[in-house]
Symmetry: C2
């Protein structure tokens, strides 16, 4: 496995692979790799010949009050995981390499970034799309792999790629969950024991929504009220939003019908958790 | 010469050229080709193997009160010029091909787009950078060619390419001028005979600035006052701005020293003309 800390070296390795007619897969990460990332790496290995994992805690997607400094950076463990998973190249630049001067160029996807998590994280998605545009231009992958757990991020990036005619495919892979349903996340390790236990209510509330829709309930307020009831079983959880939206436009669905994304963000102590499921509310 | 109206066909032609190990040059234009464009095409032919000219009057870079509908579209003459100049591929999409849905993704370069022409043309440069990002992603050129006449545009695009790590080089080519010094532009044909005559004062004022700087004048106000005096010789000219700025940051220079961009925009009847020169105000 190659490890490149510079853009130049990364381009050299990728160009050499391309020269050997390899297709290129990119798994963009902020490190702190877990089984969610591993599932993306495995998908990349199945679908492409040469797998690049980028590890970069991107400062431009963190708000001033967010956890950039505290974000975990277990670099050696990450490399070990990449080695075990047969990754070909790890691209691990520092901030100076990615932003040598103050960045003044932004890629922004309007509308889709103004709802859900965009409401409480202004500038977050602009940071994500900008760094992804940079990574795509550096690595020039045929396919880039993202997790469904960050549903809004995946929708925004897909739209960016379409609107700007970026020459790659975005592959969204299923959310990986713990046994009790909690979506795997680098931030889960910050949960206390009791918080960790109650965090399973997020997935339970999503399952409840799915069940209600399955029985023909189409009133979003009714569904969301039932979800809130489940989350209210824990005093440790504070709901930021629950929304039922069209999966591509992210516009609220009322009534709930056709394909639907049920998404929520919940504060659990100092940790902000997000989760979602896709359901098909088409009645027969 | 190939002509492609679709993105798909364009990609096919370019991929075939790339397969034959050709380097790709792109000259992005809005058509109405003149000797300025021809000089770009010639530079592209000298520096790259396979020359693509895009012809697309990009709606997103025109303001609501600007001349999008009236912008000249002499397509057959443009093709003839491209043929004569040995262009390999003309990419001539319509607006529906470039913007199949309402565009919500924008590439924006801050600061550099807020000065000079950016003050009176809000959204203009955002339209330019966005369509160039799209064209670069479609054609994937090794080099793209722009004219120094649109100095701010060139600076903005260069910065976008650097900030987003776009894998191409931007080549800026010298302004082509008429015999009396007027910078060649597609909009010159809209000038009446007397307007056309007086339009030569723009270049005269730039030359005056250069001369003053050559004699050691470093006070920008003094230089600009002398330029205004020259432009005031015609009652048909109305100055929008005259600025002396650092050529990469576009920040006003005071005193004028080192490399300097002297740029102006002047209304001449219904036509808005821009021009500029680069000077080196380094004193010995």
């Amino acid at each position: 496995m190659e490890i490149a800390k510079t853009i130049e070296l990364t381009k050299k390795f990728v160009a050499a692979a391309r020269k050997r007619d390899k297709t290129i897969g990119l798994v963009p990460t902020m490190g702190a790799l877990h089984i969610g990332h591993i599932s993306l790496i495995r998908a990349a290995r199945r679908q492409t010949d040469y797998v690049v994992v980028s590890i970069f805690v991107n400062p431009t997607q963190f708000g001033p009050a967010e956890d950039f400094d505290k974000y975990p950076r277990p670099f050696d463990e990450d490399l070990q995981i990449c080695r075990e998973q047969g990754v070909d190249l790890v691209f691990a630049p520092d901030a100076k390499e990615m932003y040598p001067t103050k960045n003044i160029t932004w890629v922004n996807v309007e509308k889709l970034t103004e709802t859900l998590c965009g409401r409480t994280r202004p500038g977050h998605f602009r940071g994500v799309t900008t760094v992804c545009a940079k990574l795509f231009n550096i690595v020039r992958p045929d396919v880039a792999f993202f997790g469904q757990k960050d549903a809004q991020q995946a929708v925004v990036i897909k739209r960016m790629v379409t609107d700007l005619n970026m020459p790659l495919k975005i592959q969204v892979c299923p959310t990986v969950r713990e046994e009790d349903g909690l979506a795997v996340s680098s931030r889960n390790k910050y949960l206390s024991e009791s918080e960790r236990k109650d965090a399973s209510l997020l997935y339970k509330s999503l399952q409840k929504a799915k069940q209600l829709i399955g029985t023909g309930v189409t009133n979003p307020e009714q569904i969301i009220a039932q979800m809130r009831k489940i989350l209210a079983q824990s005093t440790l959880l504070e709901t930021e939003y629950i929304e039922i939206v069209e999966p591509e436009t992210l516009e609220p669905l009322n009534p709930v019908k056709g394909p639907a994304l049920i998404a929520l963000a919940v504060r659990c102590g100092s940790v902000r958790l997000i989760d979602n499921i896709l359901v098909d509310a088409t009645s027969d």
